[in-house]
Amino acid sequence: MKSNSIAIVGAAETTEMGLIPNTSQIMLHADAALNAMRDAGMKPGDIDGVACAGEVPTAVAHYLGIVPTWVDGTSVGGCSFMIHVRHAAAAINEGLCSAVLITHGESGRSRVGAGQYRGGGRSSLAGQFEGPYGVMGPTSMFTIPFLRYMKETGTTLEHLANVAVVQREWAGLNPRATHREPISVDDVMNSRMIAYPFHILECCLVTDGGGALILVSAERAKDFPQKPVYILGTGESVESPMVSQMDRFESSRAFKVSGNKAFEEAGIKHADVDHLMIYDAFAHLPFYGLEDLGFCKPGEAGDFIMERNTAIGGKLPVNTNGGGLSYMHSGMYGMYALQESVRQMRGVAPAQVKDAKISIAHGVGGMFAASGTVILSNQEF
């Protein structure tokens, strides 16, 4: 995308978050969308582009009374919303539409109107060559690469547990976080083992919620009530729908391709970045994110976090909402990472990073299957 040409002018999460048993999934999309439209001072008639994942754009557009000239139903897992931002930017610049609404809503815990999980079925390649071996969703599959990562890098189980500890410290500053009470490395390592070497406190939450964003051209952005958040660069990629077929287990190719593209578009250096969100479905994801985006050399992320660089007061605050481990995780968490980046750039985050000017929201989809990266700023470059 053309750097600095697009801005986020509306951003909101669902009114409630966590356990929302009285709201269906489509209404979570709508609740977030209504909040984002109010945030931007817009009505459905002002929106002419719709992108979403989990539901199809047809359902969301009709439910909200929007007549789109552009839709995007890219659904490659939790980073779909980062990719929607990228596609929306291109669409607005091409004149296909002028105001894009991106929605996420997921009744991940209550499963109200959530429909069935659409796996590939037993005849898909994953169904034939992974399904018969006792896989039980992400806790038993997303976690498989990590023992190899440990062996190749010298990273330890204490490093892994420490990720959850540091993110809980951030969550302690966030009134909307699901879990806020401090925890220690021992607490994490003594918590219930889910899939060795991962304990329950190293696995994401399962909650209900949603979020929505509204994007327009940067030229129009100052006409809206909120401080514009400009898009500096974006990236996307996919690798394999089967975790067993990743090229390497100590690094994500999709992360690297997506991250490199976003940095290239933005034309910034790593030292320019004030704030970073790395989708943390499990505690090892920040290691891959920090290394594959180039903030740490291979194998150094565990020490980087242990040395409190990503913690409160550190030089690179990471996952300042508490992350998928402590804030919330409805299933497709990427939207919440983007929301926190927007709050940080607006200067209104509960754990606000002082004078932050550039933020990155980096997402994963499936189990290292896909990736999307968005670089945001409150400055016009």
Partner: protein
């Protein structure tokens, strides 16, 4: 070995049928490109490296090493207790998911890069699943 009646069994497609025909005969079959010699998995009737449709089915040695794994602790109807879900590196290059059988399902017994060999678990007349077990002293 798992109670296979409680697992979601594979449904072969025309492009994978040869693989499942092979396991039924206790053979692990891969494919290799006639042009660039790339050996690959999972099955497809063309080479993912060079897109050639000229590929041959080859019999794998069955030798592998343990690449990575988790030991799933959540109750699964097909397993008696915690069980490893592993990814192994075949001698020919490709990796595949499997279970490690004839071994304690513990971190102490399951050491990365340990040598493994293929073995087979017949489910029914159509499906036999490939598994791996420690190669012991044979290598």
């Amino acid at each position: 070995m798992a109670d296979q009646s409680k697992l979601p069994l594979p449904v072969p497609t025309p492009e994978t049928q040869h693989f499942w025909d092979g396991t039924r005969e206790n053979q692990l079959l891969l494919q290799s490109c006639d042009g660039c010699q790339k050996t690959y998995f999972p099955p497809r009737p063309f080479c993912p490296a060079c897109a050639s449709r000229s590929v041959s089915i080859i019999k794998a040695s069955g030798n592998a090493t343990l690449y990575s794994y988790v030991i799933n602790q959540r109750a699964h109807p097909a397993f008696d207790g915690p069980y490893a879900i592993a990814v192994v590196s075949l001698e020919e290059g490709p990796r595949m998911m499997t279970n490690i059988v004839n071994s304690p399902q513990t971190p102490e017994a399951l050491v990365l890069d340990m040598p493994l060999k293929v073995c087979f678990g017949k489910v029914d007349e159509n499906i036999t699943l490939p598994y791996f077990e420690p190669a012991g002293d044979e290598l």
